[in-house]
Amino acid sequence: MGRRSSDTEEESRSKRKKKHRRRSSSSSSSDSRTYSRKKGGRRSRSKSRSWSRDLQPRSHSYDRRHRHRSSSSSSYGSRRKRSRSRSRGRGKSYRVQRSRSKSRTRRSDQDLGHVPIVKAVKGQVTEEHVVGLGIENDVKAEIRRKEKRKRIKNGSGLSKSKESRIGFDGTQWRAVKKFIMLTSSQNVPVFLIDPLILELINKNFEQVKNTSHASSTSECKFFCVPRDFTTFALQYQLWKNEEGWFRLAENMGFQCLKVESKDPRLDWIDSLSGTEIPLHYICKLTSHAIHLVVFHERSGNYLWHGHLRLKGHIDRKFVPFRKLQFGRYPGAFDRPELQQITVDGLDVLIPKDPMHFLEEIPHSRFIECRYKEARAFFQHYLDDNTVEAMTFQKRAKELLQLAAKTLKKLGVRFWLSSGTCLGWYRQCSIIPYSKDVDLGIFIQDYKSDIISAFQDAGLPLKHKFGKVEDSLELSFQGKDDVKLDIFFFYEETDHMWNGGTQAKTGKKFKYLFPKFTLCWTEFVDTKFRVPCETIEYIEANYGKTWKIPIKTWDWKRSPPNVSPNGVWPVSEWDEVIQLY
């Protein structure tokens, strides 16, 4: 055992002391903590050996820490130091600390409270850094760590203590077990969405499926991998007795934090104010916390979860919020079908297609339409309520929905572009005097069967400009004179662009955009992607005055980001200018 476990002991003791100061009445809960600790200790010791052999993913931060620290110092020790320094450096500005996290020092995972990183770190670094790191990094890191562990194991007393510490940490398994017991007894259908565990399960899927309840208990392979959180999710409308559940959780010894917010589904109707909806629960049992992400149903048949924003009075040290896998941004997911499996002796629900769910996570960030600004826009410019405008909007909406359905079936990523994107961003609706709907697709996502798929959906090809290698653009004829334009975007090192072609002259145009990533949003009761860096995208396309509606727009001259791009050689015209 040695140093490490005593460290743990000491740390938790000091934690407990703190807690006692804060909450003198919680003697019962601290009792249960001691109890579970002992128990956890006993059972995990028997398993300690298997642990070192197995592939054990850890949280990325843990890994990073290891990379930067010498192997002789324990992670726990470092955490203690961190926590000390944190309390000392409390008054420091966030900027300083954040920039540190950017430079990936060992303190990167420091618990700074949950400050949206967007403000400090610009661009896509954020996305990758925070959301994406969930899985891929971990797998790589695992291998590295495994090797390292092998090295440590050979003849070092420390490695043994490490094993026992990890095995000792059965509190984690117990916390998960208690949580599952609690939810199943209350008929709360939570399902596991923890990326790390899902990844593990996915990899060992056959094995998981085949192991019976009894045999799987012999080894704790999934829930005992040390980490700070285990993440579950729940569809809110299936939760019958939230208050009662909450109380029960507390009685069972969980300390729970509930994060609420106003309901975005009521945002569009400016005059409504409702009761807040729960977004996240974080329930802590001794050193392990269960993060329960509350999914809400949205129009467009998808599930939405909110941003975990810590309000002023919330204790930022309650759990290391930075390490949470969900909640840094709001997110949108396809509604997963669920299946029941038994892992580590526990019956849990997981998405039927864990792989699909895992793939969604890094790209799940959701942005809400700017309803407030849209209302202001309509106060200024008034909505067009004429029959023609409403008919066009209805047709355009149907066309958009049809296009979304078709492209989704093909598995092609796309986003709202040009005027449709502007309409979404500026007024949360389709601009009634636009004549078509515009979508963007990355050229690397191009599939040759796009055209036939649209044809099958009743949208014949109207024209095709350019070719896959250069300036590709497709137009489909929707019903009732509404046209669907698909622009293909080409990525360069520092920008993106799409091309345009003038049919008469064969002139080529190029539209430049700053680099962007894709986010989800909701538009015309459907889930769509839009550029996350929307304002940059729109300003590139429409200039700083995009807020002012302009009815005459020349796509060759008006956009500020247009530039002539030569002329198609006449020999190629047959290929690059196809009109139907």
């Binding site: 807690k19 934090l257 509930k258 409504l272 409702g274 802590k284 204790d315």
Partner: protein, 660 residues
């Protein structure tokens, strides 16, 4: 400085004057060492004082923060929700233990002020006549209820007795009379006032002014009264000022078992009064009903929107009946409150439901209409998967088999495009005209009052062209217009599954209610099995109607249809009568007939292609409008359709409604 005088010579030169003044001053000031030193010392002193004050301030804030954080400590302990559940209560340094209450009573104005805050002020003309009653929490001094009983009018004293009896013992009662409060103040009410310890209340006379403060079941804390000197004049205005000692919070609360439900109950009962046994200490009425679940409930996942205004007592009654209905799922219910009213929200919270407040837009009917639109839009936003929504209002009782009725019939809305809605309300279903709880009709009118709306109808047709706020339209009238309805029909039961109990409302008053709503039949039988539901589909219904008409016995058309003897004293027969109806919109005879049948006659309701179906004396009674109705062909050639003219020529039944 005293010896300094401005040079008179410089005065006339305006432009130069300034500079020289400035220079002189500058000169004087820079040269007077004493002054300079004085200034320096002053500055230093000022600096010191500022520093001291600042330090003190910092220390104070520190202390305040640490105190506050000590207070907040249990809350900070991560269970935010728990902390929020408890009403804010500070032990130790409580607020003042005495309330200073002012009560004013006069002919044209009343007001009540508690600790200088006006909690009631009414000087509107032609309004607020009668006895105003305010209930204060004896521990906090918060206003828990505010009512006015127009005891000049009949039956209002009964309502007052009911209310006062519901107030928990120990509460502080404040009464004050505006204009006149004695005319219909009967003995029961006076006896109750006497039991409260009032001297003047029981003896309250015509146009007396009266102000009273007392504790329910406890001592009188102050009373003033002024007799009216003559029939034509009022008593002098009285102003009562008195101190009300506050009691401890423990005394003001009941000791219910510590459960989730009772926590909600406690929160509710510490805020509002006048809900009777729900706040009874000994035997509180339940707030959770857990009615039997419905087997194969097709409407379990259909959202329920309750449209409410500021009638919390109505809402309370409504939600009780709704939550007692079989097959209800509380998490599907959303209460939409038109305005930022607290009390309706408290009622919603008492039952643990979701409540949404709506900032009022526009006025009167248009306000209701906008509220409807926002509520419906929000409902479909909150439940994006829902294909339907149940729309209810706060002044409806809901039948025990309401959801069972919908569960059995909702597939019609999915399968039959010619349907506009399913409604739980039969406009013509009065106690004497409705009989069969298992029977359904198709009608061309939209009854509302508990109905099911199809999402596609709302999203694709109604929402985009919903009347804008400046159009002062009734939403239901608008929905009944041919442009919206487009020939579609609603399915209704013979015996209504909702009961309209609202007496106070925008388009409601006591007389109107008594005439048209009070005698409405309301199903109380649980689990009624509806008969032959699929015969309600468009084509099947025609077959059904033809069958009925073929079976029906033709009544004696020589008799006066308004006479009771028009229908024979049989049971279980089907009869048909033919009335004159020249065109599709000619309802002259029908309206007169409806009048003498004492059913809804204000506009035409419940017709299906010129056919009305109702019950008389337990017989099914069909009325066919000839020749406009396609069913006219069923008329035997010998029969002359009945023709009733509009009053005053008509005698007998017409006008009966007005006389009730």
């Amino acid at each position: 400085m005293d010896d300094w005088k401005p040079s008179p010579l410089i005065k006339p030169f305006g432009a130069r004057k300034k500079r020289s003044w400035y220079l002189t001053w500058k000169y004087k000031l820079t040269n007077q060492r004493a002054l300079r030193r004085f200034c320096q010392t002053g500055a230093v002193l000022f600096l010191l004082v500022t520093v001291i004050v600042n330090i003190k301030l910092i220390l104070d804030t520190r202390r305040a923060i640490s105190e506050a954080s000590e207070d907040l400590e249990p809350e900070q302990d991560y269970d935010e929700a728990l902390g929020r559940l408890e009403p804010p209560r500070r032990r130790g340094s409580g607020p003042r233990r005495v309330l200073d209450v002012e009560v004013y009573s006069s002919r044209s104005k009343v007001y009540v002020a508690v600790d200088g805050t006006t909690v009631l002020e009414d000087e509107a003309q032609e309004q607020g006549r009668g006895i105003h009653v305010i209930v204060l929490n004896q521990a906090t001094g918060h206003v828990m209820a505010k009512r006015v009983f127009d005891t000049y009018s009949p039956h209002e004293d009964e309502a007052m007795v009911l209310f006062l009896n519901m107030v928990a013992p120990g509460r502080v009662l404040i009464c004050t009379v505006k204009d006149e409060g004695s005319f219909h103040l009967k003995d029961t009410a006076k006896a109750l006032l006497r039991s409260l310890g009032s001297q003047a209340g029981p003896a309250l006379g015509w146009r007396d002014t009266w102000a009273f403060v007392g504790r329910k079941g406890g001592p009188v804390l102050g009373e003033k009264h002024s007799k009216s000197p003559a029939l034509s004049s009022w008593g002098d205005p009285v102003l009562l000022k008195t101190d009300v000692p506050l009691s401890s919070a423990e005394e003001a609360e009941c000791h219910w078992a510590d459960t989730e439900l009772n926590r909600r109950r406690r929160r509710f009962c510490s805020k509002v009064e006048g809900y009777g046994s729900v706040c009874s200490c000994k035997d509180p009425t339940p707030i959770e009903f857990s009615p039997d679940p419905l087997p194969d409930n097709k409407v379990l996942n259909v959202p329920v929107a309750v449209i409410a205004g500021n009638r919390p007592n109505y809402l309370y009654r409504m939600l009780r009946s709704l939550l007692s209905a079989q097959g209800v799922s509380p998490q599907m219910i959303t209460v939409f409150i038109d305005g930022y009213y607290e009390e309706p929200m408290d009622v919603v919270a008492l039952f643990g439901l979701r409540g949404i407040q709506h900032t009022p837009i526009s006025i009167k009917n248009a306000r209701v209409s906008q509220h409807y639109k926002a509520s419906l839009t929000a409902t479909f936003n909150l439940f994006p998967e829902a294909k339907f929504a149940v729309v209810l209002e706060e002044d409806l009782d809901i039948a025990v088999d309401f959801f069972s009725f919908l569960s059995q019939s909702i597939h019609l809305l999915e399968e039959d495009d010619s349907l506009y809605c399913i409604s739980a309300w039969n406009d013509q279903g009065y106690e004497h005209t409705a009989e069969d709880p298992a029977l359904l009709y198709r009608v061309e009118t939209m009854p509302g009052l508990g109905w099911v709306l199809r999402k596609s109808l709302y999203k694709e047709e109604l929402e985009p062209k919903w009347p804008t706020p400046e159009k002062l339209w009734d939403w239901d009238m608008w929905m009944r217009m041919p442009e919206q309805r487009r020939g579609r029909e609603c399915v209704i039961p013979d015996v209504s599954r909702s009961y309209h109990f609202g007496i106070v409302g925008l388009n409601m008053n006591g007389y109107f209610h008594e005439a048209y709503f009070k005698k409405h039949k309301f199903n109380t039988v649980p689990g009624v099995q509806l008969r032959n539901v699929d015969s309600l589909k468009k084509d099947a219904y025609e077959v059904e109607v033809h069958r009925l008409l073929s079976e029906a016995e033709v009544l004696d058309h020589s008799k006066n249809p308004c006479e009771d003897s028009f229908l024979p004293d049989t049971e279980g027969h089907t009869y048909v009568a033919f009335i004159r109806m020249e065109k599709d919109d000619d309802f002259t005879t029908w309206t007169q007939l409806a009048k003498c049948l004492r059913i809804w006659d204000l506009d035409v309701r419940g017709n299906h292609r010129g056919l009305w179906r109702l019950f008389r004396k337990k017989n099914h009674f069909l009325v066919v409008g000839v020749p406009a109705s396609p069913y006219s062909m069923k008329k035997p050639p010998s029969i002359t359709p009945i023709f009733l003219e509009s009053p005053p020529k008509e005698e007998g039944g017409p006008g009966a409604a007005e006389q009730t």
